[in-house]
């Protein structure tokens, strides 16, 4: 479960958003500049709200009134960026293992195998990120985030940098992820079709305000 009630002033732009979501995939929908990325960065802890609270899975990670701000690295979230951001000095296997090492989790070969199979990245394990296509990179980034065993997976336009064909290549993996991985997700996109396929709930943002909230129907 995710509960967000925040305000943030960013230069001329003011963001004020409040919603609470139980859905497996919460879609943050809006045009570019609507504040989607700022909002997801606040959930991740990369951006600090001026006022408000954020609760992930029952834990208050931000509460400005109480002076609470849990740093990103302790939030146990996964974040898939539009530009993948794989570590260029590590190969794919080491990238995948990074979150587990940083969180000092015991190795979990069963989960590793499951994620590698789910995302079909077994053949890439000893390659370097520089040798991967855009779609492959994004799949590895998904796997890397999942293997850190997050309680919430944030995806910021993960298909945004890919062409139409690549998008269609990745989308089925995201659907499988939603149905099989059992991690709630927040999915940022400005693409209605994408969200229709993936989201179970929609938060619609416009110029820093939530204009509607509800099922996928609000997208029409």
């Amino acid at each position: 479960m995710l509960r967000v009630d925040v305000e943030k002033q960013l230069g001329e732009f003011s963001l004020e958003a409040s919603f609470s979501s139980q859905g497996r995939v919460t879609g943050l929908f809006g045009a570019s500049g609507a504040g989607k990325t700022s909002l997801i960065n606040m959930i991740a802890g990369l951006l600090r709200p001026d006022r408000g609270t954020i609760v992930i899975d029952g834990e208050t990670v931000d509460d400005t009134a109480a002076g609470i701000h849990v740093p990103t690295w302790r939030r146990r979230i996964g974040y898939v960026f539009q530009d993948a951001r794989l570590f260029p000095h590590l190969d794919v296997a080491q990238n995948l293992d990074y979150g587990r090492r940083m969180n000092r989790l015991a190795s979990d070969p069963a989960q590793h195998t499951r994620v590698v199979e789910l995302l079909d990245i077994g053949a890439l394990l000893d390659r370097r990120p520089g040798k991967l296509s855009g779609g492959e990179r994004q799949r590895v980034a998904l796997g890397r985030a999942l293997l850190s065993k997050p309680r919430l997976l944030l995806l910021d336009e993960p298909l945004g940098a890919l062409d139409e064909a690549r998008k269609l290549e990745i989308l089925p993996y995201l659907v499988r992820l939603r149905d099989e991985a059992n991690v709630p997700m927040v999915y940022v996109s400005h693409d209605v079709a994408e969200l229709r396929q993936l989201a179970t709930q929609i938060v619609m943002l416009r110029q820093g305000r939530v204009t509607s909230f509800g099922g996928v129907k609000v997208l029409t």
Partner: protein, 231 residues
């Protein structure tokens, strides 16, 4: 081939030892300072930056004299270190290493700082979202990505340290076997009537060492860059 005499070997080996120790000790400080200058904004940053670059623009004899005043037996720091920790710099090879370290520090820090500034900070953010605490981000992402610059800085610092002359001779004098490096040996030899041949040999050694360092630096930088670009 070069017929290098035992005395010349002593100077060469001493130079290598002084430059290696100076570089190894200066490196952690260099990395810390490079990170500070690249990433943090604080009061007095430009003063600190200028201070670090001072040995580059001051006459070396001035730097050496200041070192003597500070780290000499009767100096503020030198006296304390000698009395309490038994570390003596004055007229010892350790003092030569200190002088070389100080003189080469600006050259050592600069490439490190540039490479830290060039790192895509979004990668560090990604590491944080994966659960890495700030110091782990530094050691698993920042430092490996800055490695070409760190190595380049070390080699450049080493090359400068091995040729340092002015500050070293001012601070620790020119004692064969203790503080007489290649540079001060050459200086002594060219002031002796029949020292030309020996000086010439040491000059060739200097050139070989300097060229070698540059080639090694280039090789390291290229390898590390390839590694970072994911090939």
């Amino acid at each position: 081939m070069l017929d290098i005499s035992p005395a010349e070997w002593t100077a060469i080996l001493l130079s290598l030892r002084v430059a290696i120790i100076a570089t190894l000790v200066a490196t952690p400080f260099g990395i810390a300072l490079a990170w500070l200058l690249a990433r943090k904004d604080f009061w007095g940053k430009s003063v600190l930056d200028a201070f670090v670059h001072l040995p580059l623009v001051l006459p070396p004899v001035v730097t050496g004299y200041l070192l003597l005043l500070t780290f000499g037996r009767r100096g503020l720091v030198g006296g304390f270190l000698a009395d309490h920790l038994g570390i003596v710099f004055a007229f010892r090879w350790t003092g030569a290493a200190l002088a070389c370290g100080v003189m080469s520090f600006p050259l050592l820090v600069r490439p490190m700082r540039l490479s830290i500034e060039a790192i895509d900070r979004r990668l560090e953010q990604a590491a944080e979202t994966l659960g890495a605490a700030p110091f782990k981000v530094f050691f698993t992402v920042t430092l490996p990505l800055a490695l070409p610059g760190v190595l380049a800085g070390m080699v450049l610092g080493f090359a400068k340290a091995i040729g340092e002359f002015g500050a070293t001779i001012t601070f620790v004098s020119n004692i064969p076997g203790e503080t007489q490096t290649i540079s001060s040996a050459i200086y002594s030899l060219i002031q002796t009537p029949d020292g030309d041949a020996a000086a010439g040999r040491l000059v060739i050694v200097s050139i070989v060492l300097a060229l070698g360092a540059l080639i090694v630096a280039e090789w390291f930088a290229r390898r590390a860059t390839q590694r970072l670009h994911g090939n």
